[in-house]
């Protein structure tokens, strides 16, 4: 199995992505609107709880927009990680009956998550007009930050998804552990609002750099910390290599164990 084989199977990758996109909101009354409603609703709740009651700082932007921008990055990460974790098991029938490079299943998830992100980004642009937040050219870099976030999710997800084939425990563990990272990442609050002495420790979370960068693109204010970015991108790359190797080493067992 190698990259050239993935290319041979690109038709199947496309078909799987299309299937997931079509299926997502089938038999829902609001259909595709959910892509828009979900982040708005989540950001609204954050606004009330953290912005309103908790009175968290939002670097001068309207808190709602601040939270929405953070949510965009966070959702891309957490949805990708949790969907990929379960993707082999949900497609067990395919895995045990048909040959295709198993990496296609995680990759198909990346496609759908990227499309979700682009829609939610469009919503952000509209909301910015409504709330009077000015957009800068930096927003054009948002897709690049998305790739970074997806890479950050994909590495660990390749490990959890292949482990989930043998140990379904992983499928239960991931949704419990993920919210912990939500609170350990600057989604509801800004890094600046943290006490100085915790900052170094906090910086170990690679999501910090990624979510700050996403906000930097969208809100168009603040500065980027080069150290944060280098650390996070480097870690994403490292996890991707480890994750792929792990996936490849387990791949041959999938059909027998699933």
């Amino acid at each position: 199995m190698n990259i050239s084989e993935l290319w041979v199977f690109r038709g199947l990758l496309g078909a799987m992505t299309r299937r997931d996109l079509t299926l997502r909101y089938r038999q829902t009354a609001l259909g595709g609107l959910w892509v828009v409603i979900q982040p708005i609703l989540a950001a609204s709740i954050f606004s009330v709880v953290f912005g309103g009651i908790g009175n968290f700082s939002s670097e001068g932007a309207p808190y709602f927009m601040f939270a929405y921008a953070g949510m965009l990055g966070w959702n891309a990460f957490s949805n990708t990680l949790s969907m990929i974790t379960s993707c082999l098991v949900t497609n067990a029938q395919l895995v045990s009956k048909i040959y295709f490079p198993r990496l296609l299943l995680p990759f198909a998830q990346l496609g759908t998550k990227a499309i979700d992100f682009l829609i939610a980004l469009g919503v952000y642009v509209v909301l910015a007009q409504v709330t009077g937040v000015s957009l800068s050219a930096r927003i054009l870099l948002a897709p690049l930050v998305l790739v970074w976030i997806l890479a950050l999710a994909l590495g660990p997800a390749l490990i959890t998804s292949s482990l989930n084939v043998s140990y379904r425990d992983i499928g239960y563990m991931v949704p419990v552990v993920l919210p912990l990272f939500l609170y350990l990442s600057p989604v509801a609050y800004s890094t600046d609002s943290l006490p100085e002495r915790y900052r170094d420790l906090y910086g170990f979370n690679p999501l910090v750099g990624a979510i700050n960068a996403m906000r930097w693109c969208l809100l168009g204010r603040g500065d980027l910390a080069a150290g944060e970015i280098l650390y996070s991108v480097g870690l994403a790359g490292g996890l991707l290599v480890v994750g792929s190797l792990f996936f490849r080493s387990r791949e041959r067992l999938f059909a027998d164990v699933i």
Partner: protein, 410 residues
């Protein structure tokens, strides 16, 4: 044959580990293994051992063998779904696999969407599916339901659509597993027709697993018989089927006569009473193939029955799926026996085409105990019958029992 083989399997082996990891696999069991790595009875089960064969273009090869002989494992390795533990397979050309009809169909998607999805899963390109789309729909006969989710389809429509997609696949090597076991008569007929035409078109290769001996006999130019994971026979179809049938009784004296004398009592008793021989008889004596509606007799010989009060015999006939389809017990008819052989006759054999296996038992009605019982004592096949239209001869109907029914205009 001078041409390059399109499929070359060399020393294929596949083992599964059974025992400790049996049942639900959990992290707990993994942790336990880390703590005490040497405990837990783990056994290695070899589903395939040292299997080698070549298949050349234009050959239609049947793979036969009992349940658990390794047929499905072999196909899974050939179709690359699973990797062999040892050995290798080389294949030249595009491979199309039909391990299960309708794999990857999604109930929420419409018929049209499923055609594209399933086509992609089977390895067709999108433009290829688009080109064949009308013909796929027409073949399946679901014209008015293209925009309906397949979960609202009848099971017949569902299978027809699934097969129709697969039938438009255009592989150089076609691998088919037991598809004849599902679907209605019409569907089975189309499957057979399709496989025949794939083979007939120049240079194609077909590998076909089935329990349907009649279909194997008519389609295959060659058979590979698997027995406990090894190749027990590879060659001529008729010869191979004879070998396969022979597998079910190690002591076939002549075709249709099965010697049962040389057994060790699993219970360790002295076997004072034991079954000696079973003969499956037709009009001209022992034979292996019968026709639906024909006459068949089973002759059972038993040793040491003179001393037994009120002996009785019983016969069970099982089909290829291991389901008991016919059974008879001499206590039901009240026939009295002494030490002499017993014969059971079926005047009009009520079985469809297929391979059948015979279990024989003997007991004492007086003491209410079974004295001897032989599973797979003998076997016989039911083949073409004058009762059926020619084109339906090979198709196994739903169920094994032939119903003596009359169809007429009402």
């Amino acid at each position: 044959m001078s041409s390059e083989p399109s499929v070359a399997a060399r020393n294929l082996a596949k083992s599964y580990s059974v025992g400790a990891s049996h049942g639900p696999r959990t992290l707990q069991s993994a942790l336990r293994r880390i703590r005490r790595p040497l405990t837990g009875p783990r056994r290695t089960f070899w589903a395939l051992r040292d299997v080698s064969f070549d298949v050349h273009p234009q050959e239609v090869v049947g793979i036969i063998g009992r349940n658990g002989a390794g047929k499905s494992t072999a196909l899974k390795i050939l179709s690359r779904v699973t990797e062999p533990t040892g050995g290798e397979v080389r294949m030249v050309g595009r491979v199309g696999c039909l391990l299960e009809v309708g794999t990857g169909f999604h109930p929420e998607l419409t018929g049209e969407e499923n055609v594209y999805l399933n086509g992609a899963i089977l390895g067709m390109r999108r433009d290829e599916i688009r080109r064949h789309f009308d013909s796929i729909v027409e073949f399946a006969g679901i014209d008015g339901f293209l925009k309906t989710p397949v979960k609202r389809y009848s099971s017949g429509m569902y299978v027809r659509l699934a097969f129709s997609v697969a039938a438009h696949l255009d592989p150089e090597i076609l691998i088919v597993d037991e598809v004849l076991a599902v679907g209605d008569l019409e569907f089975q007929k189309r499957c057979l027709g399709k496989m025949r035409s794939v083979a007939a078109e120049g240079g194609r290769t077909v590998l076909f697993v089935s329990h349907n001996m009649a279909a194997i006999q008519s389609l295959c130019t060659r058979v590979i018989v698997l027995e406990e994971g090894r190749v027990a026979f590879d060659g001529d179809t008729t010869e191979g089927m004879r070998r396969y049938i022979g597998l079910h009784s190690e002591h076939q004296v002549t075709p249709g006569v099965f010697f049962l004398g040389n057994r060790v009592n699993p219970l360790g008793g002295d076997m004072a009473v034991h079954l000696k021989q079973l003969s499956v008889l037709g009009e001209q004596g022992p034979q292996l193939t019968f026709a639906t509606g024909g006459r068949i007799r089973f002759l059972i010989e038993c040793h040491g029955l003179e001393e037994v009060k009120k002996p009785y015999y019983r016969i069970h006939i099982r089909n290829e799926l291991d389901q008991t389809v016919l059974a008879s017990d001499s206590r039901m008819t009240g026939t009295a026996f002494g030490g002499e052989p017993a014969e059971m006759e079926i005047g009009r054999l009520p079985l469809h085409a297929g391979q059948y296996f015979v279990d024989v038992g003997v007991g004492s009605a007086d003491r209410g105990e079974v004295l001897d019982h032989v599973v797979d004592a003998g076997t016989f096949a039911v083949g073409p019958s004058p009762l059926y239209q020619d084109e339906y001869q090979l198709i196994s109907a739903d169920g094994s029992i032939y119903l003596d029914a009359d169809w007429r205009r009402a």
